[in-house]
Amino acid sequence: MAKVIGLVTANYYVENPSELVASRPVASMPFLGRYRLVDFALSNMVNAGIRTVGFIMPPNYRSLIDHVGSGKDWGLDRKAGGLFVMPGSNFGTSRLGARFLVRDLVQNRQFLERNSSADYVVLSTCNFIYNIDLKDFVESHIASGADITVLTKKATEDNPNILGFDTDTVGVTGKHMGVKFGDTAFLDLAVMKRELLLDMVDWYSAIDHKDLFCALVESGDISRVSVKTVDYDGYVAAVFDKQAYFKANMDLLNPKVLDELSPEDRFVKTKAHDNPPAKFEPGSHVTNSLVSAGDRIYGAVVDSVLSREVVVEPGATVRSSIIMQGTVIKSGARVENAILDRNNVVSAGTELRGTPEDVLVRVKGRD
């Protein structure tokens, strides 16, 4: 098999991401009780046998480094290869839409040069949730003879944060920021020869404030660089705003979808923790919910996702909500259609209520 390395970018900004990312980069957004968004990109790569992954960091990387560490939990703490944590430019997080920022690639050109034995590079961001067999993806790219293969899906709804591609029978011909229903939506995953990526980094170094794929189209090079699309037919969630984030969590309150997202042979890897199993006390009531290690439940939890170390006290009710790590719902409190970030305390007897269309968000409490 061809030798493949990975490059994950986390140094970008998304519009209207809600107050949840005020305190952390999007890549380290907690997801589904125990993951962070970056887990999906990293797991896709290591599950396909990729053992060298460059990771371009945003400037506010504290929580991200805390999570990925040496890459141990993804099998990326290696003598040869492994996880290469690289600095992103300050510019990245102010540049809307530029998720594969050319400047970050120029600055970290060395990563691509030094891994000279690699034939191919897989590029990914951190805002899409899906589980893909990247071996198949790379093999189909090689078989097609295209210069670049991008993963796409027909948009099922409008989304201003997703890059759309114009296509003809041969491949990509143009692009537009934001997709409408039926458009070819880019899932921020691409594969190309390492040599081609190095060339592109050189070609666009003068317009390094742009996204790599935007530069490719705007420069007109798209007419000589063939870009083929591969349609992804599995579960995808594009997590760019709080409603999408909320919906993606709720989608996974379904063992079938959860299995598809984290099948046994390609399960999503994440940082290991030492929490004891979740403890359901006598009289607790839990239905259609995901409950994490270290939770203690005395009250009622319905249609919700609980991260680890959450406490739901007696008489408290959590309904259609996402409760993050270490948050305590005091006795008699009611929480509905809400996202409560880490370490919040909901006082006894109080109510926090949003609507399905406008979910209430409570930002991180104190550690």
Binding site: G33, L258, D274, P276, K279, P282, V286, T287, S289, S292
Partner: protein, 372 residues
């Protein structure tokens, strides 16, 4: 030195494929986690683990010892199985013999004190405190003891002590116990004396090479300074299926006898990274521990359900322990039972009876529905 080679034969089906220290416990742990966590929480960074019976799972679980912060250069976990030499090979014959065969390891570590532990007990102990007592008494050997019911005392090795804790007499399973202080099988030795005593014991053809039966009586007879360290707290040996079941059940309830949630001395494990547990629309969980990766579509009551276990629609699990990957299929009933790893109770089948002894099935066992 952690003795982890025992079979735990009274655990029957549960140890048919793995050594007792590797048996699943409390939803996401293996029994050896408790003593390894004690080591880590007590600041011990060098642990030799002596293995013998069905060691594969134990070895792979221990790995580099990283899960317990025991992957240190110049220390950490060393797995010490029986080995062959130019003179041939030999199994470990008794607890003392196991250590004797690893005197080379002890000498290489060159530690002033050696702590002897069992890998198959459940308790939290600060070994540093025990060592402080050992030093304060200027002892040659300190034995951890705990008070047991007088009625039970004749089942244990009993220490008869002076008021300052100095051991005056040791009786193995006495018919008429004079004290109720039972040895927990946890010892701190001055290493030089340990090596010297083991080497002498090895030459004694009549010795059974056992700490309780041979080493302690020898040291007492030699007039050495043997002291007790009194432990007051939760301690279980989980020797039988019934006591194993009971110890798991003691993790439940609002004020469990053993609190897994104590943050001062966390129990560490070589954890897998699985998704949160899913409780279905018709799922009902009351008074239970549910580990990550589980899918609960039926009813679970007063039970411990381990990583990746599955309880199907309309299934009932009560007073039971499901090991990792165990499956209780649709409409099946599991009551007062222990299910081994990846074992299956098929659709509509029944395992266990509340009015009989707790039943255990082994890893990968399958229980079919009995035809009427």
């Amino acid at each position: 030195m952690l003795l982890a080679g025992g079979q735990g034969s009274r655990l029957k089906a549960l140890t048919s494929k793995v050594a007792k220290p590797a048996v699943s416990f409390g939803g996401k742990y293996r029994i050896i986690d408790f003593v390894l966590s004690n080591c880590a929480n007590s600041g011990i960074s060098t642990v030799g683990v002596l293995t013998q019976y069905r060691p594969y799972l134990l070895h792979s679980y221990l790995g580099t010892g990283e899960a317990w912060n025991l992957d240190e250069r110049g220390g950490g976990v060393a797995i010490l199985p029986p080995y062959a030499t130019q003179k041939g090979g030999a199994w470990y014959e008794g607890t003392a013999d196991a250590i004797t065969q690893n005197i080379g390891y002890l000498k290489e570590q060159d530690a002033e004190y050696t702590l002897i532990l069992s890998g198959d007990q459940l308790y939290r102990m600060d070994y540093e405190d025990m060592l402080a007592t050992h030093k304060a008494n200027n002892a040659d050997l300190t034995v951890a003891v705990m008070p047991v019911d007088w009625a039970e005392a004749s089942r244990f090795g009993i220490m008869n002590c002076a008021s300052d804790g100095r051991i005056e007499e040791f009786e193995e399973k006495p018919a008429q116990p004079k004290s109720n202080l039972a040895s927990m099988g946890i010892y701190i030795f001055n290493t030089d004396l340990l090596i010297e005593t083991l080497e002498a014991d090895a030459k004694d053809a009549k010795s059974e090479h056992d700490f309780g039966k041979n080493i302690i009586p020898t040291l007492l007879a030699d007039g050495k300074r043997l002291y007790t360290y009194q432990f007051k707290g939760y301690w279980r040996d989980v020797g039988t299926v019934a006591s194993f079941h009971e110890a798991n059940m003691e993790l439940l309830g609002e004020h469990p006898a053993f609190d897994l949630y104590d943050e001062d001395a966390p129990i560490m494990s070589n954890a897998s990274t699985r998704p949160p547990a899913y409780i279905g629309h018709e799922g009902k969980v009351d008074d239970a521990l549910i580990a990550n990766g589980c899918t609960i579509l039926g009813k679970v009551e007063h039970s411990v359900v381990s990583t990746d276990a599955y309880v199907g629609p309309r299934a009932i699990v009560k007073d039971a322990i499901l090991f990792p990957g165990a499956r209780v299929e649709e409409g099946a009933v599991v009551v007062n039972a222990v299910m081994g790893e990846n074992s299956v109770v098929k659709e509509g089948a029944t395992l266990g009876d509340p009015n009989e002894e707790t039943i255990a099935i082994g890893d990968d066992d399958v229980i079919e529905k009995k035809e009427a």
